[in-house]
């Protein structure tokens, strides 16, 4: 008997027991669709994190102050000290010392209340230099960024984040050219940043007021030259680690400390991406594990129903044997039936998974990325489940002796 005939015979049997076939497939359908969705969710989360982090700026290194040790020996946490200074930023900006750094943006940050007429809004203040815009990969929606001259002269200018501008200026006219009161000083709005849409480290990238670092120092009455963060853009992704080494060496030397008690910390996007990805990976493995268990249960369901089917169809098997079906033909028929159920369940599961990937993002605000590899693997798995769990019922069917099978009532 040819494979085509075996296939047709199996198809007849599957089709003639619709409810049973549907229930058999159900386990596989649920298993496969949940595998597709969980893998898609994990992949989607990773893609999103990657996008968000690259939105912070490309090839970015972030230098932040390390822990401080007070005279009594109490060590503060990372970022508690004020060990980074503008001089450090200038040092990093020196091509002789750090040849792999393209641009450097020191940031001195704080928080202040901004007032326009009756409206006031508290936001984070970013005091920085002209290179900030490029290093952080930001663009302007309106107006312009401040110039080097304005940094030198500590000009009374400010660039607002998109959300900040929207909060302060409720009228449709452009905020550019209007003035904002910050800590008693009147600053002229010269530009509005384009919305970045992402938020890193809790605070929105779209809610901030950016001004020359000199202006920020003047407004806060600060006389020190300390900065909170130095953003460094490496010349390329390949030179990122070289730039890291150079900055590390420079700052250790400048601060006169050994690497064991470094008073600063350099992080890169890569380490951020890695951390985020490892979290996502753990989640994906966890969810995938649950999905795999449901697949296993589905496979056992196939075996269960196939065994029931063998018992239920003992007389059919006996008849087929009496009419000349050899044990191997019977075995093949039941195997093909089981794998057909498995594969059909897999195909339906993939379709439901794909449908879910369109519906789910609008329900839980999480992107779902579908991968062709996961889909093929899911289909292969469902086929393998059908075959794997069909072997035992099929060999039981093949072993039945025709007389006993025919006599059974």
């Amino acid at each position: 008997m040819s494979w085509a005939e075996t296939f047709r015979t199996a198809l007849d049997a599957v089709r003639s027991h619709r409810l049973r076939s549907a229930l058999t497939m159900l386990g596989i359908v649920i298993g496969i669709s949940s595998v597709i969705l969980t893998v898609g969710l994990g992949q989607g989360a990773q893609d999103q994190v990657k996008k968000q982090i690259s939105a912070l700026g490309s090839n970015l290194l972030i230098v932040s102050p390390g822990s401080s040790t007070s005279s009594s020996g109490v060590r503060g946490g990372f970022g508690s000290s004020t060990t980074l200074t503008l001089r450090d930023a200038e040092g990093i900006g020196d091509p002789a010392a750090v040849p792999d750094a393209a641009r450097v943006a020191p940031v001195s940050s704080g928080s202040s209340s901004l007032t326009v007429g009756e409206t006031n809004w508290t936001t984070s203040i970013v005091g920085t230099t002209t290179s900030w815009l490029g290093v952080r990969a930001r663009t302007l929606a309106q107006g312009r960024f401040f110039t080097g001259a304005e940094v030198t002269s500590a000009a009374d200018v400010v660039v607002l984040g998109a959300d900040t501008a929207a909060e302060l200026f409720t009228t449709p006219e452009s905020p550019v050219g209007q003035s904002v009161s910050v800590d008693g000083a009147q600053l002229t709005v010269i530009g509005v940043l384009a919305a970045s849409g992402s938020s890193s480290t809790g605070s929105s990238e779209d809610d901030q007021a950016v001004m020359p670092i000199s202006t920020q120092k003047r407004l806060t009455g600060s006389t020190t030259s300390s900065v909170n963060t130095i953003y460094v853009e490496a010349t390329s992704a390949d030179t990122l680690s070289a730039a890291y080494q150079e900055i590390d060496a420079l700052l250790l030397n400048a601060h006169g400390v050994s690497s064991a008690n470094a008073d600063f910390n350099i992080s890169s996007q890569e380490s951020l991406v890695e951390t985020a990805n490892s979290t996502n990976k753990t989640l994906t493995v966890l969810l995938g594990g649950i999905a795999a268990i449901s697949l296993l249960v589905g496979g056992i369901g196939v075996m269960n129903i196939m065994l029931v089917s063998v018992t239920e169809r003992i007389r059919e098997i006996g008849l087929r044997k009496a009419l000349g079906a050899t044990p191997s033909v019977i075995r093949r028929q039941f195997l093909v039936e089981a794998s057909m159920l498995g594969l059909a369940g897999g195909v339906i599961g993939v379709l439901i998974g794909y449908a879910g990937s369109f519906v789910l993002p609008s329900l839980i605000d999480q992107p779902v990325s579908l991968s062709a590899i996961a889909t093929c693997a899911a289909l292969g798995t469902s086929l393998a489940l059908g075959i794997g769990f069909g072997v035992y019922p099929a060999s039981r069917a093949a072993r039945l002796t025709p007389i006993d099978a025919l006599r059974s009532e």
Binding site: E5, T9, R320, A322, G324, P327, V329, I403
Partner: protein
């Protein structure tokens, strides 16, 4: 005259259930020639079902030889027996044993399917066999849409379709009313007249009386072998 269709000599069949042995057939010798219409009669427990299983190659004897169409089938493997059943034997069962989910012609073509014939030829021969049993207009009906007598005629068509050496009918009228019984027996008569070799197993004497020869079996032995001259 060619070799006998069935030649059984010294056949014993012993069933073993734990330590208990039960001898269902205690040495059977019989010969059936081509074109004979033989009824095997006997009370229940006489061993006629066991004999039927052996004749149908559904089982092999514990002892003795069985030549079917000159071929020794008493020592064959299961797969070989399946092939012999397919080629040489047409079965008609008491419970019809039709597959409810297949239309009549798909039931009839089953033996041809296992013989490996192409689909078009199978269909043609299945339809011809159904016409032969007077069901040419029921080709597409499923068994559930047919009466008991019609279902048994479908089963006879299925037994005929391979042109087997022998048609084995096991109580073919056991589940039928008298009208359907008459129709099925008339059909068997017709097949006999057309030269088919038929072995019928029954415990009804009216049915046995239709055959040309009666083998009476009792306690695993053939006790009587009579030619029925009535017809």
């Amino acid at each position: 005259m060619s070799a006998p269709v069935v030649h059984v000599s010294g056949v014993r069949k012993t069933y073993r259930s734990g330590s208990i042995e039960f001898e269902a057939l205690c040495g059977i010798d019989m010969t059936i020639d081509e074109g004979e219409y033989v009824a095997v009669v006997g009370p229940s427990g006489s061993g006629k079902s066991t004999l039927m299983n052996l004749l149908g190659c559904l089982d092999i004897p514990t002892e003795g030889t069985y030549l079917l169409g000159g071929e020794d089938v008493s020592t064959m493997s299961e797969a070989q027996l399946a092939e012999v059943r397919n080629r040489r034997i047409g079965f008609v069962f008491q419970q019809f044993h039709l597959l409810a989910y297949l239309p009549a012609w798909r039931n009839v073509e089953l033996p041809l399917l296992y013989a490996g014939l192409p689909r078009a030829e199978r269909r043609e021969r299945a339809v011809a066999a159904l016409e032969r049993v007077g069901l040419g207009d029921r080709v597409r009906n499923r068994p559930g849409e047919l009466s008991g007598g019609q279902q048994q005629r479908v089963a006879v068509a299925r037994a005929l379709v391979t042109e087997p050496d022998i048609i084995l009918a096991d109580e073919p009228t056991g589940n039928l009313d008298s009208a359907s019984t008459a129709a099925v027996l008339a059909l068997l008569d017709e097949l006999h007249d057309a030269g088919r070799t038929i072995v019928l197993i029954t415990h009804e004497h009216e049915v046995a009386a239709r055959a040309s020869r009666n083998l009476v079996i009792r306690d695993g032995l053939i006790t009587d072998d009579v030619l029925v001259g009535a017809r």
